[in-house]
């Protein structure tokens, strides 16, 4: 057997190296415990670190999508509330329009006219709702009121456009956060419209839609051209409708002039106008409700999406933790092990290094 010669320097050098190694293991375990992380620099696990970055970026991005949806929800919630009020107001307006002007006292007429004007102004307020810096119903023209009163035509003009403000809700899809005022508060007709009023007078509705703004103009014609009670007027939105109703209760056109020189015909025309608007108000109300349902559906999609992101982030986070975070129990055991090994070395060093023949020579 080949017995290795052991020199004094060897004993010291080996002991020093063994203690260095043990101390470095202890330090590693200690770093992991201190940071709570298994990966403290890329070389600790190069492939794992790349994956962890990927997971962290995904979590960060998903969280951003959740933020986007949270903000979008603020706008959509406000829109939803506007629609609830608008629908209620249109119901009230319908009651007012169908009350019948004949046999009403002047006081009632005046009060009803006032009431309709109130609805008109309330609807205008709703259509010009502002959340933060944004007029909700102006499309992309968020810095402008959606509707303003035009003193020349005595109608309400739409100042917005058809812009749909989308926010990203995941990597590939986005969600509109607004409803354009020209759509939401449109005076529009769906299905078949009555051809005659309740008293048998013929009525016709003609629609024309501006493709740029989405504004829909309804021209209502009552009676036959040439008849003394022939009448026509236009509305493009719910404010216009309420305005016509309000002036009709005063037997007036929207410009404040009498509907007819004859008081009787004036009253008849006013009754006809309100009669004709009955179905238009219905259509406007169902338009508002349809838009409200649409907004509600968007909210549902986003809720589902948010739940999905919450779950996804949970699993991404646990995948990241598995790669990056130290298993504290395991690390603690490792550290104990390293610490015991170091102590054992230290005590054996104390024995080995103190052994010398010189100690026994007198």
């Amino acid at each position: 057997m080949n017995v290795m010669r052991v020199s004094t320097m060897m004993v010291y050098a080996q002991m020093a190296k063994a203690m260095q190694d043990a101390a470095s293991q202890l330090a590693d375990a200690n770093t992991q415990l201190a940071t709570g992380k298994k990966i403290n620099k890329p070389s600790d696990d190069p492939a794992g670190e790349a994956q962890a970055i990927d997971y962290k970026v995904s979590i960060q991005t998903n969280t951003q999508y959740e933020n986007n949806m949270q903000q979008a929800n603020i706008f959509l919630d406000a829109t939803d509330k506007v629609f609830t009020s608008a629908a209620d107001t249109l119901s009230n307006l319908k009651d007012l329009a169908s009350a019948g002007i004949n046999n009403q006292t002047q006081e009632t007429k005046d009060a009803n006219s006032q009431q309709a004007a109130g609805y008109r102004d309330f609807l205008l307020g709703l259509a010009n709702t502002k959340v933060g810096n944004r007029y909700l119903f102006s499309g992309f023209k968020t810095d402008q009121q959606a509707f303003t009163f035009n003193a020349v035509t005595n109608t309400f003009d739409y100042n917005g456009d058809l812009g749909s403000i989308q926010v990203p809700i995941d990597a590939n899809s986005s969600m509109a956060t607004n409803v354009q005022g020209s759509t939401a508060f449109r005076a529009g007709l769906g299905g078949t419209m009555p051809a005659a009023l309740s008293d048998g007078t013929p009525v016709s509705y003609t629609q024309a839609k501006d493709p740029v703004t989405g504004v829909n103009t309804i021209t209502v014609e009552i009676g036959n051209v040439g008849d003394p009670d022939y009448d026509t007027f236009r509305v493009t939105n719910v404010m216009d409708i309420a305005n016509v109703v309000s002036f009709a209760w005063k037997n007036q056109n929207v410009d404040g002039t009498a509907l007819d020189p004859s008081a009787d015909i004036s009253q008849e025309k006013a009754q006809h106008r309100m009669d004709a608007l009955d179905s238009v108000i219905d259509a406007a109300r169902s338009q508002v409700l349809a838009q409200q349902a649409e907004v509600g559906a968007r909210g549902d999609v986003m809720n589902d999406q948010k739940t999905r992101f919450d779950q996804m982030n949970l699993s991404l986070e646990s995948a990241r933790a598995k790669i990056e975070d130290a298993d504290i129990n395991q690390t603690y055991v490792d550290m104990q092990q390293a610490s015991v090994a170091l102590q054992a070395l230290q005590s054996s060093a104390a024995k080995v290094l103190s052994t010398s023949l010189l100690d026994f020579l007198q």
Partner: protein
Amino acid sequence: MSLLGLFDIGKSALFASQAALTTTSNNIANVNTPGFSKQDVILDVANSTSFGNTLVGGGVTVSGIKRSYDAFIQSQLIGQNQNQGRSSALSQLLSQVEQVFGDSTDTGLSKSFTDFFNAWNDVATNPESQPQRTVLLQKAASFVDVAKQMESSITAAYNQTNNDIKGAVDQINILATDIAALNGKITQIEAGGTSGQANDLRDQRDNLLNQLASLTEFSYYGDQNGSLTITVGMRNLVEGDKTNALSTQTNSDGNQDLILDNTDITSNVTRGQLGGLLAAQSEVESGPLMGLRKMVASVTKEVNLLHSSGYGLDGTTGNDFFNPLQLSTKSQSAGAQITSASITDSSQLTLDEYTITFDASQNYSVTDSQTGKVVATGAYTSGNPISFDGIQVTIADGTGSVAGGDSFSVSPLTDAIKNLGVAITDPDKIAASSSDTELPGNNSNALKLAQLSNTAVANLGGSTFADFYGGIVSNVGTLSGAASDTLTFDQNMLSQLNNQRDSESGVSLDEEAVNLIRFQRSYEAAAKMIAVTDQLIQTVLGMVTTSTG
């Protein structure tokens, strides 16, 4: 053979024991001297003298003092010191560089560029409001800061390496001078032919060789006079008692070339600290540094392309979001030079580097350094622009025209981080809109920019920014991990070899303690022998006194 001859034997025994005790003491004294080889006294039987018909021993002689030395282990030690020097330098730089990619503690680039794109999401969600725009500018600035800080940390480590190379060269020259001096002394002493080898000087020289080995790769051979010749890259560093000084010279890349005996020997040095430093530089430059610059250049390019197509709240368009990319050029020609280089169409940029080379008939050919493909060829006319991949370069005659073998390089990456900055200062100029008539609510362009983080980027090999960055981090981690594994292996090997050397040559105090007693006893015995001889002579003299008295 006479009675007096006993004195001679006693004297030789005393001298031998004394020599052995001196050697033992010297061994004990040098127990901690690095590179010291344990020495042993070689004892021989002295010439016998005839006594009647037979030969009688004539005592002991010291024929020499020999060091315990294994030339094979020494040569392995030198080789292993060179390996360890390389891996230590390599691991040191790479572990410094990998600390820069602190993504595990959220201090790397991945968080700041994700924050940047998330800020675009917020602008898209609130295109008309100012706070989100201001935040976006802040996030962009922080992306710029982090990228710059990462680059400067890497280049600082990289430049420190150049200083380390100079430092190592200085040390090598000092060691070479010391070795040459020892060569001189050893030849001088051993030429006297007095008593074998100059043990202590040879130990010193071996120790210096080990130190030199950890610094650089070299070959060596001894001659019969005891002198050692050391060559690096086939040029003499040390020959006899003469040296050639190793020197450094800064090359066109700003790196250090090694010059010995008027020859560039850089490519011959792959081991030792020098070899490790040189290898580390090239690994860092082609790996993490290049990767980081490409990633930032790509973000700059893609964001600017989209941003300049959109409209700010103030209705302006065509604005770059980040400072536009700029080309950096290098001319290697005796006569001509690049007079201008510009990006004519950033959408066509590949973000690769190009080399323009000329043949003897002044025809140029432009090669994409990354793909190796030739992207343009043609005949040279001084001052005429050369166009390729959205880049336009003008080379013009200077002190002379282009010649065969001239080469010019163009890179959109070198200064990509150096020039990086947010060009937009006015939040209203942030182009969230895709139209100037749909302000302020149009957010289409902001949407596109927000979704850029999910987009596969052609210049990055179809990866997203995050994937590409993950690749850089994983690459630098692998490089550093491999270097540190190699270092551990080399250190273990070296420690094993040092063990072997110490086992052969090291001093054992126990052994020396035994020797101390042994030679003390033999000294005492020799002294006793002289006393006995003295008594014998007294006896003889007493006989004379008795007979005459």
